[in-house]
Structure formats: structure tokens, C-alpha cells
């Protein structure tokens, strides 16, 4: 059954969510390869940003709250093997719409990087 909220979200184009905040972008990237719980998201973000971004609990769950409300992510109802993990943890995963928003943001950033690389200032610089 499609809820009223899902209909409202589906009517919005993915581009209307751009640009994403760094925290939101990193969370969506962390969920890009599959579902994860809060701590796994935090570790994934730190790893992928090479330690540059460390999300605190408040920032992480504030962003998760907004992403859930906007329909970009959803809570996974499947629970892992109780012997393997704590069943009290909540797992989150990207929705199809969230995936489209992530793809749109990635494209926007790629276009931006391409434009920046074509400038004389950047071409003159040698990578460190």
C-alpha cells in the first residue's frame, strides 16, 4: 500500500533535495552498498572520508530522522542473526528514491569537479 507520505515524496524530483549537506551525503554513500546500523554508518563514513568526517550521535540521528521523513532511507525490518549481532539495533537502508537522490548529487558534484578541473588555476596546480 502506498502511503500519503510516499506519494508526496514520489512527486518531488530528486533534484529538489540538492545540494545535500555533507552529513546526509556521507550517510547515503555509507548505505549505498547495503543496510547498516548507526555505528556501522559512523565507521563507514569515517573510513570513506579517511577520518576527515566523524559524525557524532546527534548529527547522525538528526540526519537519519530527516532522511526517514523524506523517504530517502527506510528502516529495515529484517534482523540479523541474534548470535552475530545485537537484535536491539535498528538497521537502515537506502530506498529507490534515496538511490536516485544520491545518483543526482553524485552527478552534480562530478559536473562541478569537471568544471573546476577545466579552469587554468586548477590545471596549473600539480596534485600533492
Amino acid at each position: 500500500m502506498i502511503t500519503r507520505k510516499q506519494t508526496r515524496v514520489a512527486l518531488k524530483p530528486p533534484e529538489s533535495f540538492l545540494p545535500l549537506t555533507p552529513a546526509v551525503f556521507h550517510i547515503l554513500v555509507a548505505l549505498g552498498d547495503g543496510e547498516a546500523h548507526g555505528y556501522a554508518i559512523m565507521q563507514e563514513v569515517a573510513e570513506k572520508s579517511r577520518g576527515a568526517v566523524r559524525l557524532g550521535p546527534g548529527t547522525l540521528y538528526g540526519a537519519v530522522n530527516r532522511l526517514l521523513k523524506d523517504g530517502l532511507i527506510e528502516e529495515s525490518e529484517e534482523r540479523p542473526d541474534p548470535e552475530m549481532d545485537d537484535t536491539r539495533r535498528r538497521y537502515y537502508r537506502l530506498t529507490d528514491f534515496g538511490g536516485r537522490v544520491l545518483a543526482a548529487e553524485t552527478k552534480r558534484m562530478a559536473d562541478l569537479v569537471k568544471a573546476a578541473r577545466s579552469t587554468t588555476a586548477v590545471r596549473k596546480m600539480k596534485p600533492a
Binding site: G38, Y39, M42, R54, G56, P57, G58, T59, L60, Y61, G62, V64, N65, K69, D86, R88, R89, R90
Partner: protein, 149 residues
């Protein structure tokens, strides 16, 4: 539970109730995981910075959502109660004015009946205010239970 976890749990009361009920246990769990792997002083510095940034943000969002369309049911109940109070006020007020005018045209000052009527209307309006608060509190409780599910 270590003193750090206890203290962090207590600090979560800075967040809005709705946010705390929904994400509080997960936040404590996340903090516990971090305690196991990070140096405590560095973790607390990072956590305090996170609190300083995220608490005002969530408080601001909570204030905005109180007047938004996030919870249409809450808005409907609020509107109905306000309409009821305005209606009751007009009814009592109108009756009292009519009573005053009818008595005022005759000899003498407003009678004790007039004062009694105003008293009843004031108590009635006060009661409606309390009723409104109770309805809203009950409605929010139901919301929290649904969120917990």
C-alpha cells in the same frame, strides 16, 4: 553502564522529547560502541561539540514542526478546541452582555445573577483550557507510542 554512559544518557534530555524517545536508546548504544574503541577524553570532546551543534538544531526543528503539517491530527484537534473555546466564549459573553443590557435598562446596578453568570463563564473557560491541555497531552502520548512501535 559506566559513568560516561550514564552522563551521556542524562544529557540526552536536552533534545526534544519526540527525538529522544525515538533515537535515545540508539544514541546511547552508539556512544557505548564508541567508548569501547576510542580514547575517552577525545570522545567526550567530540561528543560535547556534537551536542552543542545538534541540540539547538533539533530544538529549532521541533519548534517549527509544532506549527507545520508534520502531524495533521494534532493541528485538527488544536483547531477544533480553539473553535470550541471561541464559540463558548461568544455564547457566555453574549449571554452576559444581553443580561447586563436588560438589567442595565432597568433600575439599579447589575445584580448578583450577572456576577454569577460571569463566574460560571470564567470557570467554564478555565475548565475548557484544562480539557484542551489534557486532550493534547493524551494525543502526544499516543503519538509517542506509535513512534515506539
Amino acid at each position: 553502564m559506566t559513568w560516561s554512559e550514564r552522563f551521556y544518557s542524562a544529557l540526552l534530555f536536552l533534545y526534544p522529547v519526540e527525538f529522544r524517545v525515538r533515537y535515545g536508546p540508539e544514541m546511547v548504544q552508539l556512544f557505548r560502541d564508541c567508548c569501547r574503541e576510542e580514547e575517552l577524553f577525545a570522545l567526550w570532546l567530540r561528543t560535547l561539540k556534537d551536542l552543542a551543534l545538534s541540540v539547538p538544531r533539533e530544538r529549532g526543528r521541533d519548534l517549527v514542526s509544532l506549527s507545520s503539517f508534520d502531524s495533521p491530527g494534532r493541528g485538527v484537534i488544536d483547531s477544533l478546541v480553539v473553535l470550541f473555546i471561541i464559540g463558548a466564549n461568544l455564547l457566555f459573553g453574549g449571554g452576559a452582555v444581553a443580561f447586563y443590557v436588560s438589567r442595565g435598562l432597568g433600575p439599579g446596578a447589575p445584580s448578583t445573577d450577572f456576577i454569577l453568570l460571569w463566574g460560571i463563564s470564567a470557570v467554564g473557560l478555565g475548565g475548557l483550557g484544562v480539557l484542551r491541555s489534557l486532550i493534547l497531552a493524551r494525543f502526544r502520548q499516543i503519538q509517542y507510542r506509535l513512534i515506539k512501535l
